[in-house]
Subunit: 201 residues, 4 copies
DNA sequence: TATGAATGAGCTTTCATTCAT
DNA sequence: AATGAATGAAAGCTCATTCAT
């Protein structure tokens, strides 16, 4: 009998080890050899677990989506009051750990590839769906806030929700490019303060 | 030295014709042949104007920066009142023409390359400098607005300025990925309304 | 030594199961995995019975020769009269069953490999020896026929025998390439009629 | 201006130089590097003239068909009497020059590939068409011969023609495998004598 | 100056073979 | 004995770059 291996687990392990390389070199520049080296296996072994190079990216892409859902889910389910939940969401969305940074970079890579029709999976569909869900949740919070008197009645909750959730990527990307350019924690804190105090001023 | 002027002009022409290809295929996937075809010249001719493939991207990068400066400059210099100027800036920053879209995509490509240390020019320095200038201008406007009573005194103008100018890229990127996802004109309008009416509510 | 007998039997079984794959894909294109699948064993198991991929082909080659000898032997030993024996030989040589077709294709593969000096076993020696034997037998029949007045005295029995036995492969190969091109049974029958009625006309 | 090259001519040149390698190693075993070496060019250059490795084989295949048509055309158009034309045809079909031998081997390679559905072009269609034409011509000659009293009235000209033209490949293949096995010139001569003297005996 | 033919480094992918279990 | 996970050599193919014309 050969070595007994949980193929799915091993696949996931390799995908995980590939993250750092994919982030550092980019999908196109990263070679299978790079990925094999990072995973500590031979080049051929990669092909036991992934049919093509693109499939590795798809697997990593899955990890990213799972991570996104997890981190947002955590942020959303803790609080009761709409302003607290919104603050937590913004906080979480702009919270960049070293770990997450790699995922963010790969995520942008995927983004570009799909923008060009070079994507292989259903990236756009998943992103769109995630964003739609998130937009509805955020719009709901804003509506709740409006009802509580936090925001004026004529605020377009849906449009504002869209702006909010799409803006996060911009802030994060700028921060990643040059971390000395600004203090993201401070900016986040101040923005939350600004955003939540809107109606009270 | 008319020769040199001529050569620079031709360089710029080729760079301009390369934009569409670079946006559509991405820097790595676009071949010199693609670029030569787009420019209507032979492959060898490209090398009379650019030493390497990377140099083409640098030239295009220059075009992008010039375009960014031009469009922002236009937005900033027209109005007198801080709220009008801010509205114009947001408007302009979120105004995506077909032409600009190509530049945006290449800009993201460059962004990623530099995020990875694969960039060849002074992209980060230029972006940082542009953003610094812009941040100062926007912070100034917010301060002016605070003085006019538009925003509360304890608003951190600098932090808010950072959020504002970095948020644009996020909104634009999301919009480009799926234009059916939301109506960017409407979102922009509503966000401006929200942002500027902060203190009045 | 029952072990060895067992092993030989298993070898032969695997070789037999490999025939269909080798015929369908060709020796070079057929992978060990293909052969293992066809034999219903694991890839590693193949190497318990064959040192290399080439050895599998050699084993199959042996099967082919055994089959050739068997089918010709059957044809040759039944009749008494030379013309009957010749007719039976031609008949048998041009009789293509589905089963035999696979062997024929592999046989051609082997042929080509040996034509190029890429053969590993004693294919050429065996073929030459088989053909020599057959040629002698056929020449003998023709001589017998000449004596019986079937063919003219000045017919070169040996040369004609060579033509006859080498012609079979050509007819069969053409037929296999496009079975709709001609009715091999009819052609065989007519050729036998022509060949045997030579002197009577 | 770059070196001016007649692309079609160069293509043909490379295809010609590839013949020897393809015959010696076989299509699958011959590497692009082998072919490039034989042509005295770099590996990349091959791809200026052929999109894929298969395309090289197709080009060579074209050469083979042209050669077949040429040699048969020559044989067929010289004589007037049916028996002379048939004799010339058989002669030509069994006449193996060193040059032709390479083509024959490649032809068999193609044959096998197409037998397996691995062929890329219209090999089967071309072969079938060539053989059909040839069969008609030969059948015509035999009919003419019958009318002249060379062969008995009840000979099936069509079936005999099929046997004749398909048998040649068998004779040639056997000869190529082991040239010491028989004297093909002698066999050819004797077979012609046998075939043409049928009715006279 | 303009060109594209020529090139080989470097990529992804396949697969015979080995070997730990 | 039986297995399939692991491997790297080797293949086809691409493309930035050079250079003769």
């Amino acid at each position: 009998m050969p070595k007994i291996v949980d193929k799915d687990k091993r696949r996931s392990e390799i995908a995980h080890k590939a993250i750092e390389v994919l982030a550092r070199k980019g999908f196109q520049s990263a070679t299978i050899q790079d990925i094999a080296d990072a995973a500590g296996v031979g080049k051929g072994t990669i092909y036991h677990y992934f049919k093509t190079k693109g499939e590795i990216l798809m697997a990593v892409s899955g990890e990213i989506f799972r991570e996104m859902e997890r981190s947002l889910g955590a942020a959303l389910l803790r609080m009761d009051e709409p302003e607290e939940r919104l603050a937590a969401l913004i906080q979480e969305s702009l919270n960049i750990t070293e770990e997450l940074e790699h995922l963010y970079i790969i995520y942008t890579d995927l983004w570009l590839a799909n923008l060009r029709g070079q994507g292989q999976g259903d990236f756009i569909a998943v992103i769109t769906s995630l964003n739609d869900d998130l937009r509805k949740i955020v719009a709901r919070m804003i509506e709740d806030g409006k009802r509580k008197g936090l925001w004026a009645e004529d605020i377009d909750a849906d449009a504002l929700a869209v702006y909010l959730i799409t803006s996060f990527d911009g802030v994060v990307f700028h921060y990643m490019l040059d971390k000395k350019a600004f203090d993201i924690k401070h900016v986040t804190r101040e923005f939350i303060r600004f955003f939540l105090r809107h109606a009270k001023a």
